[in-house]
Symmetry: C2
Subunit: 127 residues, 2 copies
Amino acid sequence: MAHSQGDDAGEMLIGDFARAVGSTKDTVRFYTRLGLLKAGERAAGQRHYAVYDQDQIDRFVFIEQCKALGFTLQEIGSAFREHEAGTLTALRQQEIMEAKLRSIEERIANLREAERKLRAKVERSGE
Amino acid sequence: MAHSQGDDAGEMLIGDFARAVGSTKDTVRFYTRLGLLKAGERAAGQRHYAVYDQDQIDRFVFIEQCKALGFTLQEIGSAFREHEAGTLTALRQQEIMEAKLRSIEERIANLREAERKLRAKVERSGE
DNA sequence: GTAGGGTGTGGACCATGGCCCACAGTCAAG
DNA sequence: CTTGACTGTGGGCCATGGTCCACACCCTAC
């Protein structure tokens, strides 16, 4: 493994982390800038290299799951901040999920409406 | 009507056109730059003012309908170009609509999948 | 002739989720 | 000691559908 020595409890540099989660360094940096991932620091000469551990892998996987559920990175970040502030109760989580559920249902309804109109047009043009 | 004299068969300046279709001058210019609307030209000193007629109003309405059906401005423009090239047969129109229908169905399926997962989570957290 | 409307052009900016590039420091192996 | 692979920073760019702004010109009414 390229640079992956010095495993202080599985800490790794960004490249290995990106490979581990099947993503890119740019994305990892992007998420880190947004506060979605927390990087440790390892001195490297006059500079610092970011290091990521298993927790961050879990976090990344969680983020991907949330994205698949339709949450934006913004929303995920805001939930993380609530979590850190200790205000993300089970009830609050449920509220968030139900709100998202409603917005998904709304989008489905809009798409279905478009589908209906479009189907009508196709059929009219077909006969 | 502010500037709306000199009606050469209902030609109007951009402001009146925008008001007529219930949109904004910026949007009208945007569509015009994209080639979705065709403006005539009226000399004004050293410059030219764009003029729009009834055909363009109809065009604008059509664009809005297409947007409501889920077509992007790009797609609409490309269809217009096919129309001008004379290649937009009824069959071709049907193809385009069916392709869009499929993409809408795909998006609905994705959203339903997210909805399903999310609902499962909400219920699990609810009990 | 001046104010107050209209207009065009060119550009920056918004959110979304990144990709890509250059430049420069770091580090290990040869 | 050089080569190659890695790293960070800072910036530009993509699509999408516009909004907003400044600056300059135009025209009409007073």
